[in-house]
Amino acid sequence: MAADAAGAIGPKLKDAALAALVAIALTVPILGMETVPGPDGRLTLDFHFHLVAIAAVLVFAGRLALSLLLRGRQLRPSGRSGAVAEFVSRHGTWFGLAGIAFALVLPFMPFASRYVIDVATTIVIYVMLGWGLNIVVGLAGLLDLGYVAFYAVGAYSYALFAQWFGLGFWICLPIAGLLAAIAGVLLGFPVLRLRGDYLAIVTLGFGEIIRLVLINWHEVTGGPNGIADIPRPTFFGFPFTRDPGEGETAFHELFGLEFSTLHRVIFLYYLALFLALVTNLFVLRIRKLPIGRAWEALREDEIACKALGINPTNTKLTAFALGAMFGGFAGSFFATRQGFISPESFTFIESAIILAIVVLGGMGSQIGVVLAAAVIVLLPEIGREFETYRMLLFGAAMVLIMIWRPRGLLAHREPTLTLAGSTGGTGTRGGGR
């Protein structure tokens, strides 16, 4: 028996050692030798061979553990969604309601400092962006790598309309959404005929074009300096200032409260929460309408859709435009919250983060997006050193999830309508036929 075990473990040890060798070869130049500027300005090297050793040991252990765990089976995508995912999805309504209730009372919890509310607001915005992108990626199956472009369109629309025409947030919000949707249609119309991976590249290119135009078109966008002094939000016309202008009433005066800067922070939090919940409601609803089912059908098989008379280009276009619209809403919220925007906020990395939220959460899963957004925003908050490592982790996680559970960690799909469910419905109306 001992010989048996040894015979089984021998090749695995060899395999793990080989992997460790590869790891050493890979990491010696990049990780083991760091180029640093020397005293004369020329580069010299700092050696960190202990890092190489650590990497080699980790790879050896990881590889060995993996092959022992899998015992000859290949690590392959599993079609099953897992018990946890199914449980969460089955009771999605309860999880959702509990989550919303928690979100609503959060600002009045004892631990809710200004910092906590600020972070929560950021999470909510990413949740909203994730839900918006989920229409495009999760439902329609279109890989959009330039989602941040629509976020930028929304942000700049709000900033410019507010500055030039003095329009308020609630008027600018639909305008920003509309402009983002138009940008989505303009981009989508020519490119949605393309194969899926070409679409990904074109959206990536489009995102970069928008950013480069923002940087270089000084007259309108302020170039790399961006736009400052964007009007801050008001409580339906009542500003959050200590000393309102002539004839104005400030928020704290309206309610007879002591002035506090926290009021605005809390208001912004609720504003974000409101926008996010509107997005969620919209997505949940449209998923059960013909257009939503057509998106999912397109994701599953475009050729079959054509044979059933579904116009693929128009259907994709609506997904693209609606996704862009929510990006635009989020963008105008971002602008009013920060009071300052510049092209630096709209880089490819931002698009990648939103995509990572959708992918990690589970394409099409609403609750998964919330969890993924929370993880992605909180990770660098736990420790600043996580800031850079965060992207390292996300990159690795995206690869691993595609291998292990390609539909996402929490992807369990409930049908949009069931025969069992609809029987009762038609029965009460005396039968459909």
């Binding site: 090297l45 991976d197 390292l392």
Partner: protein
């Protein structure tokens, strides 16, 4: 005229670099039909390995340029190829036959990972390289303008042509090339006929990465500075070149690279350097929309 000639030379040298990277995209696309998003990062790693080895050789006192270049070339190709092989092995191979978006998302994850990895390991600062190859030929025309062909440009052009010749020989004359072309036609059928598909795909990634390493080395020599972010832009441009030339076609990739390099050189020479990168992206979008099969590509027939 002299100015035109100068831009032409710059454009050709630049185009060769793009072309070398583009071949990697084109080959992988031809064989498994996916865009290897991480390929730009492979090029970036090639550039970093080059600069690290140059620095190491400098510290060891090896300063004779031809020897240093040769050693750097060899090490860069070896290490970068290993990166290419590993990326395929970890991020793509387990996903064959998975759902449509999986390999793309995995590739994006890999790209983010590699970029951050180099940023963490090497720092985010720009890395300058002391000029290794200097000088060149200077021609003066009667009006007093000068045209310069630097040794680096000559090196780029000659090395690329030699690599292309060798590469064409591999594809057309060797069993490896035959296996590769078979896989391009039909992966399943090739496997049934006894072609080791896994190995062929691995080799494709290795060759692509080796060419990207050469491109990385030459870009390092040419520009003199690199940072962890260069892979993104170069990747998109090279991909544009691959599509422009007709994705899947190797001569097309080189041709697309040349067209793009020339377009970029003339654009920044005659118009504005500010919108240089916008030009590249615009070409990409226009080509994909109006000429999705590229110059030398074959139209795809939808299989129903």
């Amino acid at each position: 005229m002299a100015y035109f000639l100068q831009q032409l030379i710059n454009g050709v040298a630049l185009g060769m670099v793009y072309g070398l990277i583009a071949i990697g995209y084109s080959m992988v696309y031809g064989i498994i039909g996916m865009i290897n998003f991480a390929h730009g990062e492979i090029y970036m790693i090639g550039a970093f390995v080059s600069i690290i080895v140059f620095t190491l050789l400098g510290m060891l006192g090896i300063s004779w340029a031809p020897l240093a270049l040769l050693l750097v070339l060899i090490v860069a190709i070896l290490v970068t190829s290993l990166y290419g092989w590993t990326v395929e092995r970890i991020a793509y191979r387990p996903l064959r036959g998975s759902f449509r978006l999986a390999p793309l998302i995995s590739a994006i994850g890999m790209s983010i990972f590699l970029q951050t990895y180099v940023q963490v390991a090497q720092g985010a600062k720009i890395k300058p390289l002391q000029p290794v190859v200097t000088g060149g030929f200077v021609f003066t025309d009667p009006t007093g303008f000068t045209v310069t062909i630097s040794w680096i440009q000559i090196l780029i052009i000659v090395l690329t042509l030699v690599l292309m010749a060798g590469f064409t020989w591999v594809i057309t004359k060797t069993p490896l090339g035959r296996a590769q072309r078979a896989c391009e036609q039909d992966l399943k059928m090739a496997a049934l006929c006894g072609v080791d598909v896994d190995r062929t795909i691995s080799t494709t990634f290795v060759i692509g990465a080796a060419l990207a390493a050469v491109a990385g080395l030459m870009a390092t020599l040419y520009y003199g500075v690199i940072d962890f972010f260069i892979g993104f832009l170069a990747g998109v441009k090279a991909f544009t070149a691959a599509v422009l030339g007709g994705i899947g076609s190797i001569p097309g990739a080189m041709l697309g690279g040349l067209v793009l390099g020339l377009a970029e050189a003339f654009w920044s020479g005659y118009f504005s350097i500010e919108y240089k990168d916008v030009a590249a992206f615009t070409i990409l979008v226009l080509v994909l929309i109006f000429l999705p099969t590229g110059i030398l590509g074959r139209p795809e027939i939808e299989k129903v």
